[in-house]
Symmetry: C2
Subunit: 395 residues, 2 copies
C-alpha cells in the first residue's frame, strides 16, 4: 500500500497534485434542458469541475468524487502557489494517496444549486437577466446526479471505475448506484445514509429558519444589496458545526476552557473557547458560501429518500438495482449520520447478495471524521480501489 | 407503593393538589441585599413560590422542588378551574404521588433571573424605575440557591427532608448539597450534571446569539417596545427542543412524515411534520418566556462547575462536603445530559463513601424524559422518599 501519511505538506509535498484549475463546462443547453424532479426545466447549466490524473486510453480509470453540503469542485491541490490550504480532500487525492493520481483519473464537480461555479440560485437567469434567487427551481440529489452524468458524457466517460463521497457526497454516490447502475462499477459511501433522520431535518430547518428570518435575506433577493443575510447563515453554520463534531471531540478540542483568561467576567459576552470557535466558523463560512444555496441544498438533502425513489418505499427492493461493488464506511462518534444508518444501507445490499464491504472506523471526530486525515480511512479506500484496479486488468 | 399511574386526569383526578396559587415573598431587602457571585449586590428580591401539602409541627417534612431552564414555581395543580394543563411536574406531586402531599410539604420557587414572578431582567430596577434589561447582574446557580435558602428561612424551615430537580434543577440540587450540607438531608438529582459539556455550552451560545442578533432585542431594552425578539428566542427554543428529544423519540413521534400531504411540494416551505412541530414549540415558547431571562439563565448554567467551586477543581474533593443521602437518575436516550455525566457524579460520591443510589431508566424520550409521566421515575422517587420518611420516624 502506497499511503504512508495522510498529512499534507503543501505544494512541495511529493504526493500533491500541485497547481490545479477549476474548469467550467456547459450542459443541458436548450433545447436539451434538464427536466428536474420538481417538474421544471433548467438549462443551460454551467458546471464547475476539476480533474486530477490522466484518463487512460480505455477510459476506464475514472473516479468521480462527490462533495458534501458546503464543499465544492476543488477537492485537491492548490489554486495558487501561495494558497494557505489545498482542496478539501487533498489528503486522499494525489500520487500514492488513496485516490492515486498515478493510476486514476479523478473528477470532482460542484453540485447543481451550489455557489462555486455551478449554476445555482446566485446565477443569472438568462430569461430575466437577474439573479435567480428563490425563483431557482427546487432541487433533488437526483438532479445533481443527472448533471454529473451530463458532465461525464461530455468527457467521454461511459462507465466509472468508482465514485466516492462523504455525507451528502455519499448520498449522491448511493443515488448513482441506483440511477445509473450500469455506469457505476463501484462506490465508496462514507458517513452517509439512504435518508436523513427527522433529527437531521430538524437541525437543517432551524438553520434555514435563521436565514429566512434574517432581515437581510429579503426574500432571497439580496444579491444586488450591499448586505447579505450573514447573521442567519452564520447561525445555520454554527448549528451545523456542532452536529459535525462529537461530544468527545469537543471535550478534547475545547473542554470548558475560557478564551484567554482564567476567571469568568460575568458579562453577557462569549467566554468559553468553544463559543469563540463556533463564531469564527460562522464568520468564515459566510464569506465563502451563498445563503440561498444553503437553503436549496439542505432541502435537497432532506428530500432524499432512496427507498421511496427506487423501491416503492422498500430500501431492500431498491437495492436490487445496484450493480456496483460497494464500500460503506462509518465513524463511531458520528451522531448526525450514525453507524446504524450505514448498517441499514449494508444490510439491504447484503440481502440482495450484492458485493458490499463495511468498515466502522474508531474515531472521536464525529461526522467530520471523513474530512480529517487518518490512516485508517486512507488505507481502507486505497485497499478497496487497489483490489478493483488489479482485478480489472487495467494496470 | 401508592403510585398507580403517572397520568393526570385533570382537577377531578383524586391525586391532584387541586387549585393552587403562586405566592410572592420578598427577601434580601436592603440593607440585607444579597451579595451575588459576580460581586454585585441585589435587593430587594421578589420570589414567586408555590407550596403543596402541609408543613408538620416538627417542620421536618419539607421538600424543595427545583425547576429546569424554562420552568417556574407552578409545579403542580391548576391555577383556574378551566386550566388546560396543570403544573409542570403534576404527575409527580399530589396525594399518593411520588412527592406525596399527604406526607410532605412541597415548595417550588421560580429561580432568580426568571420571568415568572421572581426578580429577573424583566423586573423594574427600584433605583431607576426602569426595567433592568441587561443591567441586571449576571447570575450563577449558586445565587439561585442562596435565594431559595432565604425563602426557606422565612418559611421557618431549618432543614430539608429532600430536594429534587431535573436538568438545571438537578444542578441546583447538587449545589444545595455542597453549599448547605447541614440543611440537606437528601437530594434527588435527575438527568443532570456537575458541569455542562462544551457541546451543551455550544448549543446555548447559538441560541443566545440568535436572540442578541434579533434587531428587536435592542440591547435588551425591548420591554417598552411593541415588538420583542421573538424570532431569536424562537430559534433558541427550536435548537433547545431538538436537544431535549432523542433521535429515537423523533423517529417515533414524526419519522419522515409530511404535514397533511403525501408528496413534496418542491417549495421553500416547511413540509415535514418535525419542522412544523419545532416551529409550534418556538411560537408557544416566545409567548411565555422572556428573552433576557433566557440569556441570563443559560449563562448561569454554562458557568456552573461544582468541582471548581467546591473542590479546587476536584469533583471528588468537592463531594467530601456532602451529607445528603442522594438518588441520581439518568435516562438512556438523554444525549444532552448523558448517563456518563450522572455516573461521574455518583462515582465521586461513592469514592467519599456517601450514601448514593443510581438508577438509569430505559427511555426513548431523551433529556425531556424527566418531564414525561412514567412509572419507573415515579416508583424510584417514591421508594427513595418512603425509605427516608420511614427511617426518620416522622410518620
Amino acid at each position: 500500500m502506497a499511503i504512508k501519511d495522510g498529512k499534507n505538506g503543501g505544494l512541495a509535498n511529493s504526493g500533491s497534485v500541485g497547481l490545479v484549475k477549476t474548469h467550467t463546462m456547459q450542459v443541458a443547453a436548450p433545447p436539451d434542458d434538464l427536466m428536474l424532479d420538481c417538474g421544471r426545466n433548467l438549462g443551460p447549466i454551467q458546471v464547475a469541475y476539476e480533474t486530477y490524473g490522466e484518463l487512460n486510453p480505455q477510459r476506464d480509470n475514472a473516479i468521480l468524487i462527490l462533495h458534501a453540503l458546503t464543499g465544492d469542485a476543488h477537492a485537491a491541490g492548490y489554486h495558487h502557489s501561495k494558497d494557505a490550504k489545498p482542496g478539501w480532500w487533498d489528503f486522499m487525492i494525489g500520487a500514492g494517496r488513496a485516490f492515486d493520481t498515478n493510476r486514476y483519473f479523478i473528477i470532482c464537480t460542484n453540485v447543481l444549486g451550489g455557489c462555486k461555479g455551478t449554476t445555482g440560485p446566485a446565477a443569472i437567469n438568462p430569461e430575466t437577466n437577474r439573479h435567480f434567487g428563490v425563483t431557482f427551481p427546487m432541487l433533488t440529489l437526483g438532479d445533481m446526479v443527472k448533471v454529473q452524468k451530463l458532465v461525464l458524457d461530455q468527457l467521454g466517460i461511459e462507465c466509472l471505475l468508482s465514485l466516492a463521497g462523504g455525507s451528502m457526497g455519499g448520498m449522491q454516490a448511493l443515488e448513482w448506484c441506483l440511477r445509473y447502475p450500469e455506469k457505476t462499477r463501484s462506490a465508496i459511501i462514507i458517513a452517509s445514509t439512504s435518508k436523513l433522520s427527522p433529527q437531521a431535518i430538524a437541525f437543517h430547518e432551524v438553520g434555514r429558519h435563521a436565514i429566512i428570518s434574517d432581515p437581510n435575506w429579503r426574500q432571497g433577493a439580496y444579491y444586488s444589496s450591499e448586505v447579505r443575510p450573514e447573521t442567519g447563515l452564520g447561525i445555520a453554520r454554527m448549528i451545523g458545526h456542532i452536529t459535525y463534531l462529537s461530544e468527545e471531540s469537543m471535550n478534547i478540542k475545547f473542554g470548558r476552557r475560557l478564551q484567554n483568561k482564567t476567571e469568568y467576567s460575568y458579562e453577557l459576552t462569549r467566554e468559553f473557547e468553544v463559543e469563540n470557535y463556533l463564531h469564527a466558523q460562522g464568520l468564515r463560512f459566510v464569506q465563502r458560501f451563498d445563503a440561498n444555496s444553503y437553503l436549496y441544498i439542505t432541502k435537497a438533502m432532506d428530500y432524499y429518500n432512496a427507498a421511496e425513489d427506487w423501491g416503492q418505499g422498500s430500501w431492500e427492493r431498491a437495492c436490487a438495482r445496484v450493480r456496483a461493488k460497494s464500500l460503506v464506511i462509518s465513524f463511531t462518534s458520528d451522531w448526525l449520520f450514525p453507524s446504524s444508518q450505514s448498517k441499514e444501507v449494508v444490510k439491504a445490499l447484503r440481502q440482495n447478495n450484492k458485493d458490499v464491504s463495511y468498515v466502522e472506523i474508531e474515531s472521536a471526530s464525529g461526522h467530520d471524521a471523513f474530512l480529517i486525515p487518518s490512516q485508517p480511512l486512507s488505507r481502507v479506500v486505497d485497499s478497496f480501489l487497489d483490489n478493483l484496479y488489479q482485478n480489472q486488468g487495467a494496470a
